[in-house]
């Protein structure tokens, strides 16, 4: 899923200066799972904004709502009749949701309420880690099911580099926590799978046109189009 993290309240407050009627809009998709932008978080943010507002002696109208998803037009459309009641929206969806809102409601400022971080997994309650960078051409079949593009700090295709130490990546000392060396993991996994031979051949260049570097990407499926 897409993982996100709440933005500091101070930052959100700075966007909202001068707006009177504010909607805090949660999304019940990914960001609800990682407890950054679901209904629960929208309620907390709206409440905090109201308290701030009371303290400042302002008379802003701050409300909250949460949609099933903000990355689908049909759910965004649920707001059609309500949008006139607001001057600005703080969307707690991922970056895609924030932008989709802005595309549908072009007259209203839509501010992000979370920082969208990565595609990842829930390690345990309260701990989320990255797994995929959506490079557009999955090579997991070659690398024992562990992605070097994402797990290797240098995106190496022929790792591990000379900085790998006791299973940890060379950047561990810099980020202040143990980061697994992706290539060490790949090596151990290939060994288990009896596929160590994959190491012998130098890997070819990756085609980055399928990634960010190819410009905004799209998928068209004629078979499922109406």
């Amino acid at each position: 899923m897409i993982m996100a993290k709440a933005k500091p309240l101070e930052e959100i407050l700075s966007y909202l200066e001068g707006f009177q009627r504010i909607l805090v809009l949660g999304c019940n998709g990914c960001v609800a799972v990682c407890e950054a932008g679901g209904l629960k978080e929208a309620e907390v943010l709206a409440s905090a904004l109201r308290i701030q507002n009371m303290q400042a002696g302002d008379r802003r109208d701050i409300q909250e709502l949460s949609l099933t998803r903000q990355c689908d037009k049909e759910y965004l459309a649920e707001l059609k009749d309500k949008m006139d009641n607001y001057d600005a929206v703080v969307s707690l969806a991922c970056g895609a949701g924030v932008q989709f809102m802005a595309e549908m409601y072009t007259e209203k400022p839509i501010f992000p309420g979370v920082d969208t971080c990565f595609i990842g997994v829930t390690e345990e309650q309260g701990v989320w880690t990255e797994r995929c960078q959506a490079c557009g051409q999955c090579i997991l079949a070659e690398t024992g099911g562990i992605c070097p593009i994402m797990r290797c700090a240098k995106r190496m295709m022929n790792g591990p580099c000379g900085g790998s130490e006791k299973g940890k990546c060379e950047i561990s000392v810099l980020v202040g926590r143990d980061v697994d060396c992706g290539w060490h993991l790949i090596f151990e996994r290939l060994k288990k799978l009896g596929q160590i031979g994959r190491f012998a051949e130098p890997a070819l260049d990756k085609d980055w046109t399928l990634s960010r570097d190819g410009g905004p990407r799209l998928i068209i499926r004629e078979d499922v189009r109406p």
Binding site: L13, K40, S47, A48, Q52, A56
Partner: protein, 121 residues
Amino acid sequence: MRLSYPTNIRIIKVPCTGRVAIIHLLKAFEKGADGVFVAGCLEGDCHYQSGNLRAKKRVAYARRLLASIGVDPERLAMYNLSAGMGPRFAEIAREMTAKIRELGPFLQPSGRTAAPQATAA
């Protein structure tokens, strides 16, 4: 046993402090409380294992939230005591009320004023 604790306290009973969510703490302030304290069981004594520990983390989080919107985080606190410690409860209530009185009303005179109030959950 008759205990005297300040009458301006509203007690909201919950089965376990683990049930107290951040939104409940904030709502109390929204509704006009000048201070809030959560009275949980002694650490290690939670009937549901770790309800009070979770409450502790949420209180800490909510205190940070309050600080970031300019509210003195001292207005929110967590205490641990057992059900048999009535006098201790009264003492905490007095302590908290005194502290909140010192901080003054949550809303400045220009806004809504209220007598110092504390809410205990």
